[in-house]
C-alpha cells in the first residue's frame, strides 16, 4: 500500500475534523441558549475525538517519530490539508448550522463508505465515527428546517449563509494524485460518486427548506495543497498557542 498517500489522506480528514471542531468550540459560552451551547460543544468534542484517532494513525505510519499532538499543534498553515470551508470564521448561528449540515452530510456518506476500506485502520475509525456523525446530521438537518421555515429573519440569515457557503462545498470532494491512487485501490470511496450522493441529499433538504440555491460563485480550492485563506492562520495561532509557548506541555 502507498503509505505516503494514506498519511496524506489521514491528515486531510483529521485536519477537516479538527478545524471544524475548533470553530464549533468557539461557541462555548456564546450559544444562543444554554442547551444549544452544550449540544454544539458536544459535537465539537466528538469531532475532536475523530481527529485524534486519525492523527494517531497518521503518527503511527509516519516516517518520523511523531505524536498526534505534534500533528495537531506543531504544523503550520501550509501543512494543513482541510478544505477552506471548515476554516471559515464561525459567523452567526445560521451560518454555523448550515456549514455543520454540509460537513455532517459529507461525513455520514464518507464514513459509511470508509467502513469497507481496504485499509483496516481507516475502516475501524469510520465504524466508530459513523455513529456520532449520524447524530450530528440529525441535529443540523433539523435546525436547517427550523430556521428556514420559521421567522423572516431566520430565513434571511440562513439564505445569506447558503449564498456565502455553497461554493465552498465542492472542495470537500476534491482529489489529487494521492487520492486518485487511494480510490483506485478502494482504500477510499469514489469521490465523484460520493459528491453525487451528497448533492442529492443536499438538494432534497434545500428544496424542503424553500431556499434559493445560488447559481454562480467563487469555487473554493487549495486546502489539499496547503493553500489556505487568511482565517486558518488566526485559528492556529489561538489553537496552537499553548504547545508553541510551552513545548511538550501536558494536562
Amino acid at each position: 500500500m502507498n503509505e505516503a498517500a494514506i498519511y496524506h489522506y489521514l491528515l486531510r480528514l483529521a485536519d477537516t475534523s479538527l478545524t471544524q471542531s475548533q470553530r464549533l468550540a468557539e461557541w462555548c459560552g456564546h450559544g444562543p441558549f444554554l442547551e444549544e451551547d452544550i449540544a454544539l460543544t458536544n459535537v465539537a468534542l466528538d469531532l475532536l475525538g475523530h481527529a485524534k484517532m486519525l492523527y494517531e494513525q497518521a503518527a503511527e505510519i509516519s516516517e518520523q517519530q511523531l505524536s498526534a499532538d505534534d500533528l495537531a499543534f506543531l504544523r503550520d498553515v501550509s501543512e494543513f490539508k482541510n478544505p477552506l470551508l471548515t476554516e471559515l470564521p464561525r459567523g452567526n448561528f445560521a451560518f454555523t448550522i448550515l456549514k455543520q449540515y454540509f460537513v455532517d452530510q459529507f461525513h455520514v456518506l464518507l464514513y459509511s463508505a470508509l467502513r469497507h476500506s481496504m485499509y483496516a485502520p481507516l475502516a475501524h475509525i469510520a465504524e466508530k465515527a459513523l455513529k456520532e456523525v449520524n447524530y450530528h446530521l440529525e441535529r443540523s438537518h433539523g435546525w436547517c428546517l427550523r430556521l428556514s421555515l420559521s421567522t423572516e429573519q431566520a430565513k434571511m440569515k440562513i439564505q445569506e449563509a447558503l449564498d456565502d457557503l455553497y461554493f465552498y462545498t465542492p472542495e470537500l470532494f476534491e482529489s489529487d494524485a494521492y487520492l486518485d491512487d487511494l480510490q483506485a485501490q478502494q482504500i477510499i470511496p469514489d469521490l465523484t460518486q460520493l459528491q453525487a450522493d451528497w448533492q442529492q441529499s443536499v438538494d432534497v433538504l434545500l428544496a424542503e427548506c424553500q431556499l434559493n440555491v445560488p447559481k454562480k460563485g467563487w469555487l473554493a480550492t487549495g486546502g489539499l495543497r496547503g493553500e489556505h485563506s487568511e482565517h486558518l492562520g488566526y485559528m492556529l495561532a489561538e489553537m496552537q498557542f499553548l504547545q508553541r509557548a510551552y513545548p511538550g506541555c501536558q494536562w
Partner: protein
Amino acid sequence: MKLYEVFIRAKSGLNHRHVGSLHAADSHMALQNARDVYTRREEGVSIWVVEASAISASNPEQAESWFDPAIDKVYRHPTFYPLDKEVDNM
C-alpha cells in the same frame, strides 16, 4: 421556548427517573437537548421528556392533610410476613 421535564432510564430494567428540566421548541428538540445535556457521561439508555405544563402537581400547602396521616400506619408496611429465603430484596 417551552420548559420540559426530563426522565432518564439509567439501564434496562430500571425505571425512568426525573433528572432535571430544560428548554426546547418542541418535544423532538427536547429529546435531543436531553440527550446532549443529561446523557453525555453514560447516564442513560432511554429518555422521556414531558412538557412541564402537562404535569399536575399536589399542593405543598396540603401536605399535612395528604401525607401526615400515613406516618403512624405502620401496619400498612408488609414487614410482618415471613418471606421465603429466595425472595431477598423485597
